[in-house]
């Protein structure tokens, strides 16, 4: 059975005391290690410097980076291992998002169909408010 391609969000925090080009290099290293691990980076977003809610490795601030990646679970495990050994990355989290996206799409579909049905029922009921709109 081939491994399923799944969508994940990998958020990691880079230590804040590095110079600009150094952080760029760290981020590009993580991205390239992701591709070599076997996941495709769909989107990379720098969320900027933020204050941490608690101290992490004696840092109070951190540079948040969010990657949206697609790949099998084993490749994600490899990517996480590489993040762990990357010294400037002080914290990371991986969240699987494809199920949630599917659920959201479903909810949206149901809601859209309801919206489409509503005008009809309003006309049938001849409500006081929608009447001027239809007239």
């Amino acid at each position: 059975m081939p491994q399923q391609q799944r969508i994940y969000e990998v958020m990691f925090i880079v230590r804040p005391d590095l110079p600009e080009e150094e952080t760029e290099r760290v981020i590009s290293t993580v991205e390239s290690s992701a591709t070599t691990a076997g996941v495709s980076v769909k989107n990379a977003e720098r969320m900027g410097k933020r204050r941490l809610a608690y101290k992490v490795r004696k840092f109070h601030d951190g540079l948040y980076v969010l990657l949206t990646v697609e790949g099998p679970g084993s490749a994600i495990a490899e990517l996480e291992r590489r993040l762990r050994v990357t010294e400037p990355v002080i914290k990371y989290i991986t969240v699987r998002v494809d199920e949630e996206q599917k659920r959201l799409a479903k909810v949206k579909k149901i809601r859209d169909s309801k919206v489409r049905q509503q005008p009809k029922s309003a006309e049938a009921a001849a409500g006081t408010e929608p009447a001027p709109v239809t007239a």
Binding site: M11, I13, A53, Y54, K91, Y92, I93, V95, L104, V107
Partner: protein, 125 residues
């Protein structure tokens, strides 16, 4: 008879109003999110006179159902902050009025946000 009953009712009403105030003291300055129904807001109803029947409690409604917020995401710190107490605890459903399915998602999102240092596990001091 009737007098006694009303007196008793008044007494119970007084205690009922008095005890929440005591309870409220520690969690009083909870960070209120935008548009959330505060817990204590629904409480003082039967103040002064009034039997137990007149005790009025505002019906709390789930913010996520009312405002049709579908996704409760760990990145949305602003949203999550409204459901976290001052010390960083997750506020229970009975205080916020969030419905069960949404509280489940909310709790999961808060825990994820804690893991990536967007929310504190426990606030300082």
């Amino acid at each position: 008879m009737a007098d006694e009953e009303t007196k008793e009712a008044g007494a119970t009403g007084a205690t009922a109003t008095a005890t929440p105030v005591v309870h409220d003291a520690p969690r009083g300055p909870r960070p209120g999110g935008p548009g959330r129904r505060p817990g204590p807001g629904g409480r003082p109803g039967g103040r002064g006179e009034g039997g137990p029947r007149k005790f009025f409690r505002r019906k709390k409604v789930c913010k996520f159902c009312v405002e049709k917020i579908d996704s409760i995401n760990y990145k949305d710190v602003r949203l999550l902050q409204g459901f976290v107490a001052e010390r960083g605890k997750i506020v229970p459903r009975r205080l916020t009025g969030v419905c069960t399915p949404h509280q489940r998602r909310l709790a999961a999102a808060i825990k994820q946000a804690r893991n990536i240092a967007l929310l504190p596990f426990a606030a300082r001091y």
